[in-house]
Symmetry: C2
């Protein structure tokens, strides 16, 4: 009985999918197509009618209208039945159904409840769209929700038979499942140009990701100019590889205009050397040491170059205070990322103050030392009214404590730590490396390293994974299928604020950043917006996403963004021809245990 | 005693390396720097003086001179001692040594022995360069050797202190170890634009790779227009995704002007469907079948879509004949690649002629069937005078025989097959997937495939390798360290004509092709040109290549080619700071067993 119901619901689902060619990515939470047939849109004369003037929305509309006009997009292929199988119910031919009854819609009526809500964590992004033969109307809680309605419409207006159309009347209610839907880029290991950061923001906006986390600096370079300490950028890679204040201000505006928050990270107390050392070399311990992973008992860091803030040096906190004062002026977001990952005890063998502190009381541990840092630093970070912090989970996993009401933990070490953190009562953003690290799978980057040589192809962490600590490459399917709130109670799941894919940049710079992120990050965009499972059946909807993400990639290339191809084009234009299983419900079956 | 000698030789080697900043990639076979100090080159008025007019060399010189002038290249970092170690002997400061004694060189005197030698497999590519304060003179056996001398000079002329210089007087004797130094691209699974193919040729030329093998078509698409059968390109992906005859003619000229041969591959009898089916559907067996890797006993191919030539259909050979007649007019190279990989018996379950043939004599096998194909097809392929063929090794590994004097085998299944093939007396080009497949490590591409899901992270061919059959990603080190003539006698090694890296394009098109090939292919360029081991010590020179390949990547980016970054820029500008082992001879030790 249950099996029969399930088959019916799948057929119904497929029937809905094939009724129209387009399907936005991420899938809306609730979308109901009508039966009026294609609705013509007068794109050249299309305007929006707002219940109050708003430049941000007007500008967004001009951009999006421009894309629609210049692309004249019509999807080359969409989800449909496998051609050689007994056919599923097929769609009525689109062109046959087109009907010139309507003169075409020239106005999008947008009603926003609250024009003033700031773009901050948790802002209401809800919107509805109603398309009927007589018009398009949008209702949105905030301008951020209204922005999302425009990118949805952008994906729905296609160019068919010399007309811009929406394929049928349709009602959408949409709102994100999670308030934090993020992408991490790292401008410390290698520089990423302002233009390429803008490109990420463009595509995030199109896929409804809303949080760009910039890991601005690391031990290797400091590209962020700050007036308080101009000497920081002496450790930029070159004069061209600096973010000037005007660059940052413009990027923030650029992102805000597209509904994307920029969350800056200054990593401390580990991953600290470049920049800081220019202010005062005594701020940094072990910055000139051999990192010594060849003699691991002497190791000072997990990757070169080493360096950590000397957390017992009083000036460290003075400098942190000054830096956060300026950051607080520069960045409007209430949330700051304070780093906090990978403190490595061995580094402090190079700090006589730390060694003296440990010797003074033999019960003291490195966890105690970290708590000394936290107790002094967190009040400084929190000085600005209303600020919240994100911190990597490491110190809490090591037994340290931080204020639960003001610190969100970002979990990266592995899927198993998410339940542990929410169990402790922390709010969590999930970036588990085993699913969400986009930099994995490209081999390693450490030089003079025999692990890349062909000496033992079977040994783990050797040639078997090409020297990459987090092999394999995370496919879009692996990203999408990760149920990052699995095994949590409903109450615990409330502590998960969202998720973030991360592209660390040891082997990334402007030449490859877009190819490595897209379209994979779109899988996270959907799983954090409307989920990775069919809301009715609870089954993984990976198969449903397949054709949409392939189409999204082609759309990005058409817009000029060099996203990576996922399949031979043959597989894109012939849905299911490249399936492994003829059984179209195989993924449901494999995914069942997680519902 | 041996140890002491070795240390001395390493110190000497390093002393030579640090004496000058530049070191061409691939390393010349023999290079001896003088002690005259920097030699000024009057680049703006630089000309070449040839012993006979030659447009190809004059044009190459104009291009290369343009690059030198527009880049004004000065390497940001070159090989040197690790900074915190007891220093090795360091170079005299370059700028201090610079001396305005010389008015600067304005002529490169080039003497070519044979201006008429055609660019074909085995053409003499030898050249010498002598740079003294009074001039630059080149001797080359052919214009192809002279072209190489110009790319060497391009890498050696740097812009220092407002002057173009070569850092010291120098003598080079150079010639490749192997005549076939190749790169495979695949335009069948996804299309690659003519502009992007030209980009590959540009960089091949700069790194002295000389053979561009184009796998033109596959079961999924046929982009190559042929007059004989215009209907072939009905199976191109779109009208924009076709190589017109003029495109091919221009590409061949473009490549030839840069010393690069284009070797076309039309894959048969397997990997055949698109294009062929437009001529006559009966040419193809199983082209519309389910590929059935889910029920493997019924499988018709190793990847979708399936399709193989019906080798018992007489028209098959008529069509092959016609196609090769036109290819022979279009492509000037003596070598043609005839495919021949992955014949899959199951496909012929869809051929009634094959089934009848098998039934007629129960001793007949699929190997016998393949021999029927070979005995008919190879004489057709060899009709053109002087032609040689390259064929994938598969059929010979399965027990078939082909004429050893006219068929070269390309080995891809794994390093272990190279000795087997040369033992049988075949000439071989090495493309072992376990070292030379550039497409590995990006996860898989088959859709509706639970292998990507997080169901069993430890199972091989599952999430453990991200669904990629040839995981891991092949790092440049793994490519470089592969001693592809290991375990061969000197006589056997003579049968190895060279090697080729392959970028299959299931997940490649114009958006990513350059990033995925470069700079990794430069590791092969060096190992096939001058070897991967120090000629004196026999030790792997991976450490020596490190700084040069990092520099080569930066040079490519400066020229506008989006090659992938290999390391944080910090590691590039601080040689050895990102080494895993402080012991600089560790790779020698690991590599010793292969000398």
């Amino acid at each position: 009985m249950q099996l029969i119901l399930r088959v019916i619901s799948l057929l119904q689902l497929i029937a809905i999918i094939v009724a129209v060619k387009v399907s936005p990515l991420p899938a809306p939470r609730n979308i109901t197509w009508g039966t009026d047939g294609p609705i013509q849109i007068n794109v050249p004369s299309l305007t929006i009618q707002l219940n109050q003037d708003n430049n941000l929305l007007s500008d967004a509309f001009v951009r999006i209208k421009g894309s629609i006009e210049s692309l004249k997009w019509y999807p080359a292929a969409t989800e449909g039945p496998m051609s050689s199988m007994q056919p599923f119910p097929t769609a009525t031919n689109l062109k046959k159904r087109f009907d010139k009854r309507y003169s075409g819609i020239s106005t999008i009526e947008i009603n926003v409840d609250d024009f003033d809500a700031a773009l901050q964590l948790g802002v209401n992004e809800t919107y509805t769209i109603d398309v009927t033969p007589s018009g398009i109307s949008v209702n949105a809680a905030t301008i951020w929700g209204a922005l999302h309605s425009l990118t949805t419409l952008q994906q729905m207006i296609i160019y068919d038979n010399n007309n811009y159309i929406i394929e049928d009347s349709v009602s959408i209610w949409d709102a994100p499942l999670f308030p934090h839907r993020g992408l991490l880029i790292d401008t410390g290991r290698n520089f990423i140009s302002v233009a390429k950061i803008q490109e990420q923001i463009d595509i995030m906006s199109l896929s409804k990701l809303n949080s760009l986390h910039i890991h601005f600096e690391d031990t290797s370079s400091w590209p962020l100019y700050l007036e308080t300490y101009p000497e920081l950028t002496n450790d930029a890679y070159s004069a061209r590889e600096i973010y000037q204040t005007s660059d940052i201000v413009n990027l923030i505006i650029y992102a805000q205009n597209r509904g994307v928050r920029i969350i800056p990270e200054i990593d401390a107390p580990a991953h600290a050397r470049a920049g800081w050392q220019q202010i005062d070399p005594a701020l940094i311990a072990c910055g000139e040491s051999w990192w010594s992973n060849d003699v691991y008992s002497l190791a000072t860091s997990l990757e070169p170059p080493p360096g950590q803030l000397d957390v017992l040096y009083p000036k460290t906190y003075e400098v942190l205070d000054n830096i956060y004062q300026e950051l607080g002026t520069l960045f409007p977001d209430n949330v700051f990322h304070i780093g906090g990952d990978e403190i490595f005890g061995g580094c402090y063998n190079f700090s006589s103050t730390v060694q003296a502190w440990l010797a003074a009381n033999t019960s003291r541990t490195y966890t105690d030392l970290a708590q000394v840092y936290l107790d002094q630093a967190i009040p400084i970070y929190l000085q600005k009214q209303g600020r919240k912090l994100i911190m990597w989970e490491d110190m809490v996993l090591n037994g340290n404590t931080v204020p639960k009401d003001s610190v969100i933990l970002q979990s990266w070490n592995g899927a198993q730590y998410v339940p542990e953190l929410v169990e402790k009562g922390y709010d969590v953003i999930v970036s588990s490396a085993d699913h969400f690290y986009l930099d994995c799978g490209y081999g390693g980057w450490i030089t003079n390293d025999p692990r890349y040589l062909d000496i033992d192809a079977n040994e783990a962490f050797n040639n078997g994974n090409g020297g990459s600590w987090c092999n394999p490459y995370k496919t879009w399917q692996r990203i999408y299928d990760y149920d990052f709130t699995a095994n949590l109670t409903d109450e615990q799941a409330q502590h998960v604020l969202g998720a973030e894919v991360a592209l660390w940049s040891e082997q990334v710079d402007s030449a490859v950043v877009t190819q490595k992120i897209w379209p994979r990050a779109a899988a996270l965009a959907e799983s954090t917006w409307s989920g990775n499972r069919d809301p009715t059946t609870g089954y993984l909807r990976t198969t449903d996403l397949t054709q949409r993400i392939l189409n999204f990639r082609e759309y990005l290339v058409a817009l000029g963004y060099p996203a990576s191809p996922l399949v031979p084009k043959y597989c894109y234009v012939n849905p299911h021809a490249c399936d492994f299983y003829k059984n179209q419900t195989i993924l449901d079956e494999f995914g069942l245990h997680q519902t």
